[in-house]
């Protein structure tokens, strides 16, 4: 189902440096079944994500994946790295259509360490690309990390 690295240990603020790369997440090829399943889970039943006839009709050349599925892959990257409850902000811009059989790789880099609202925070940028290196989503995140002391 997933080819990510092992589940992350707890991440501490002191252990993170600006410039650190998040452990890369390589997803399994996207299947039609996955899009049907994602439609049901998310509640986004727009048929251009599930019905090949609609994809042909509106000129996307077959069905395209939900952008939010790809954002979900990046969400998994962040969850694996810092844990879900550390996130303070997570945003992406959708830059390209994703199709069945595409293999998405998610990466990220820490760009900042700072304190705000009494929390030790890191900020970073993230992106998801396909097997050709075409960017599908690009975005940023902020997470609040525990301190060792």
């Amino acid at each position: 189902m997933t080819t990510n690295t092992q589940a992350s240990q707890k991440l501490y603020y002191e252990d993170v440096q600006v410039g650190d790369e998040l452990p890369k997440l390589v997803k399994s090829p996207i299947t039609h079944l996955q899009l049907v399943r994602y439609a049901g889970a998310s509640g986004d039943f727009n048929p251009l994500h599930t019905d090949p006839k609609v994809g042909e009709m509106i000129g996307t050349g077959g069905i395209i994946a939900h952008g939010m599925l790809i954002m979900g892959f990046v969400g998994q990257l962040l969850s694996d790295y810092a844990g879900p409850t550390t996130l303070r902000k997570f945003g992406v811009r959708f830059k390209g259509m994703t199709r069945i059989d595409d293999v998405i790789t998610c990466t990220g880099t820490v760009t900042e360490k700072y304190e705000a609202d009494g929390e030790a925070r890191i900020a970073g940028k993230v992106q998801a690309v396909d097997q050709n290196g075409d960017v599908k989503v690009a975005g940023t995140f902020i997470a609040a990390l525990p301190r060792r002391s």
């Binding site: 997803k27 952008g67 979900g72 303070r88 902000k89």
Partner: protein
Amino acid sequence: MFDKSKIGHSFPPFTTEVHRNKIRELALAIGDANPIYHSREAAQAADYGDVPLFPTAPTMFSFWSDLQRNGELAKIGVNVTRILHGEEEYEYLAPIHPDDVLTGVTTIVDGKSRRGKNGSSMDIITTETRYTNQHNQPVLNARTTLVVRE
């Protein structure tokens, strides 16, 4: 053409209940095998009090519970059959737990029309949904940018 006088317009509030099974369903559809999303027991074994919110779980609040959304957009003149998703951003203000009951209010916070090189025009509209929990505590802001082709 987007009607700029609609900036600041809010839609009627909606409520959504946070369900463990829906968080698991979303994680499974995404292909995240992390057990913390799959059962309370596994989450507790990993030092979470309960199943945590998957980072993109708020998309379910919108699609499953803000059922009036497209109708409200249509009312202010948006052609909802021509929408593409441009951007999505979540600001997590406080923890959200299973069984919480959230109230969301969606507001049009920005909008503009752009003309493309070929003369076609598109509208770029940003909505913000502010969620509070059953204790009236702000817990999440979700910003969505929609691109509406002519």
